[in-house]
């Protein structure tokens, strides 16, 4: 008898708990209704990529010495370095260079290890195409200057959450000259460059 009563009591408590949790959930969703949408209306508004964004890779043909370091550090040996040995100058002569962005994982190793800095990361991320073969960029396509969100007149650039002033949640309507929260990289660098004790700091 007592066991049965306890069972009934447990069941009732479970039911009440379930109802309470449900109400809590409803309260959460109801509370969200009064918050502003955080939607970025994509083709018209775009988020500004962060400084170290790893987008499409930019390549400068003239700087390249065809050393193939990029191929060796690439996880899948993706860059195709097409060079011939010039008998007269006894130097490698680069004929073409291509990276297939349908395969690239944008890890940035090639950019990191390139001895002549002819590779660099851009903030371009709109690589969609109708044909996967058109993602295979040759040296000409790689050498194009990247599009920029902030300079495109048809796009409203919006700052990402980490780049907003303190306390701001919504990038809409935040003035461009308002400082973001925290120290800027240049300030951090300046602090390192002028150390208190006059010691050598890490480059």
């Amino acid at each position: 008898m007592f066991g049965f009563l306890r069972q009934v009591g447990d069941y009732t408590r479970d039911a009440v708990d379930a109802a309470r949790y449900l109400t809590q959930g409803l309260a959460v969703t109801f509370d969200h209704m009064k918050r502003r949408p955080i939607t970025v209306q994509y083709p018209y508004e775009k988020l500004i990529p962060s400084e170290r964004y790893r987008g499409r890779i930019h390549f400068e043909l003239d700087k390249c010495i065809a050393c193939e370091v990029c191929v060796r550090v690439c996880p899948i040996n993706l860059p195709v370095v097409d060079w011939v040995m010039n008998k007269e100058t006894r130097k490698k002569q680069l004929r073409n260079y291509s990276i297939d962005f349908g395969v690239c994982i944008f890890c940035g190793n090639c950019v990191e290890y390139c001895p002549t800095n002819c590779l660099s990361m851009t903030e371009e991320y709109e690589l969609a195409s109708f044909d996967r073969h058109s993602l295979n960029f040759d040296s000409v396509a790689l050498g194009r200057l990247p599009t920029n969100v902030t300079t495109d007149a048809s796009v409203t650039p919006l700052r990402e959450l980490a780049y907003l002033p303190r306390g701001e949640m919504d990038p809409h309507g935040v003035a461009a000259d308002r400082r973001r929260a925290g120290r800027l990289p240049s300030e951090v660098a300046a602090e390192w460059a002028a150390p208190a004790g006059g010691e050598e700091v890490r480059p």
Binding site: L26, H32, M33
Partner: protein, 395 residues
């Protein structure tokens, strides 16, 4: 009608009959007015009646479809607001034409019948799902005389009609010749008949208090002291049971197992496209609005306003029988019913976008082992209260 017909020209009268269709308490009858108007033009009484008959039906059908459009828009906008999105925006102001655009798209889509499907049953299934739902609008009162037919079995007719729906679901599930469709249809039928029983028991408690199955009588029994006489205060448990069961009958989240996309693709509507799919869609949303209306009728006092209109009229020094006052009363009645229904629709939307889907065994456990005993206990308690306090709980 006589009061209005003496004071207004005939053309305005016709408009009035469409706009308000009837007015309360004093027994103004627009049907009689319409008949009298046509007979004045030299038509026979039978013909005038036959001409009248389709008018309220068409009106309610239009109301149901417009209600669906509004509900779809509300659902999308409210769910967007809950998730801090914007929702439909470009089709019309605030995306208000989006449901229309959706409907148009479905209308012009190709109507595919799968090769190995049973084409007859495949076509008949969605019809059998939609027709009972629309028929149930027969008994929804928007005012004293403002319903298509005040049949004596009222709310029981709705319960009976809603039990036809699972046949349509089983039919479309079977005819699609697809295991997911069949499973979805079976689930829908099991869910539907499981939740019908606590639903009927909750309705029975209300019916016991009002001594009538008729929806008009049920509302009138709640119309004594404004908001305080609503059934929700006398039947809080019944209200919750009814609301849960109604959501389960509508197959909405958290009870949308028949269409659980992670398990069954889209359940019984997997193979459907174009207008046949739209019929399912329409049926589910009409059912949702209808459920909101019926909860409003059964538990929230139907067309009565929180503060009695008679009391307000007395405060303003107006006679309740004056034509203008009656028009206002009827309009308030319609607005109140729709407002209450849409408040409940809002809660359904809130619930849908908050709760995760239950499992099938949890669903059946909940229906049979929780709701059914609680509904029975609720019925028993209501009967006891009715015997002990006949003044409050209906004599």
């Amino acid at each position: 009608m006589s009061a209005i017909s003496t004071s207004l020209p005939a053309g305005v009268q016709g408009l009035l009959s469409l706009a308000t269709t009837a007015t309360p308490a004093a027994g103004i009858d627009l049907r009689a007015g319409f008949s009298a108007l046509l007979q004045g033009q030299g038509l026979s009484a039978g013909l005038a009646h036959a001409l009248w008959l389709p008018l309220p039906m068409l009106l309610v059908l239009t109301a149901a479809v417009v209600g669906v459009l509004v509900t779809v828009w509300l659902e999308r906008k409210i769910s967007a607001a809950m998730q801090q999105r914007i929702g439909p925006e470009y089709a019309g102001a605030l995306g208000i034409l989006q449901p229309m655009a959706d409907g148009l798209k479905l209308l012009v889509k190709e109507d595919i019948i799968p090769a190995r499907a049973d084409s007859l049953l495949f076509t008949l299934g969605p019809v059998l799902v939609l027709v009972p739902v629309i028929l149930s609008w027969l008994i929804v009162p928007f005012g004293q005389n403002l319903l298509i037919s005040n049949v004596g079995v009222g709310i029981f007719l709705w319960i009976a009609l809603s039990s036809i729906q699972p046949i349509g679901l089983l039919m479309s599930g079977y005819a699609s010749n697809n295991k997911y469709s069949l499973l979805g249809g079976l689930r829908a039928a099991a869910q539907s008949i499981s939740y019908e029983i606590p639903l009927a028991l909750a309705v029975l408690a209300v019916v016991m208090m009002s001594n009538s199955l008729s929806t008009v009588d049920i509302v009138q029994q709640q119309s004594g002291a404004g908001m305080l006489s609503w059934n929700i205060f006398r039947q809080p448990v019944g209200f919750l049971i009814f609301w849960i069961c109604v959501i389960a009958e509508c197959e909405r989240a958290p009870f949308d197992l028949p269409e659980a996309e992670e398990e069954l693709v889209a359940g019984y509507q997997t193979e459907y496209t174009g207008m046949k799919f739209a019929l399912f869609y329409l049926g589910s949303y009409i059912n949702l609005v209808l459920s909101g209306l019926l909860v409003a009728v059964l538990y929230l006092g139907g067309w009565t306003s929180p503060v009695p209109v008679e009391w307000l009229a007395g405060l303003l020094g107006q006679s309740i029988d004056a034509p203008a006052v009656q028009l206002v009363t009827a309009s308030i009645g319609i607005v109140m019913t729709v407002l209450k229904a849409y408040l409940l629709v809002f809660f359904a939307v809130l619930l849908r976008w908050t709760t995760p889907r239950v499992r099938i065994d949890q669903l059946l456990d909940f229906g049979w082992k929780f709701l059914l005993p609680v509904a029975l206990a609720n019925l028993l308690v209501t009967a006891a209260l009715k015997l002990s306090f006949p003044a409050v709980f209906g004599g």
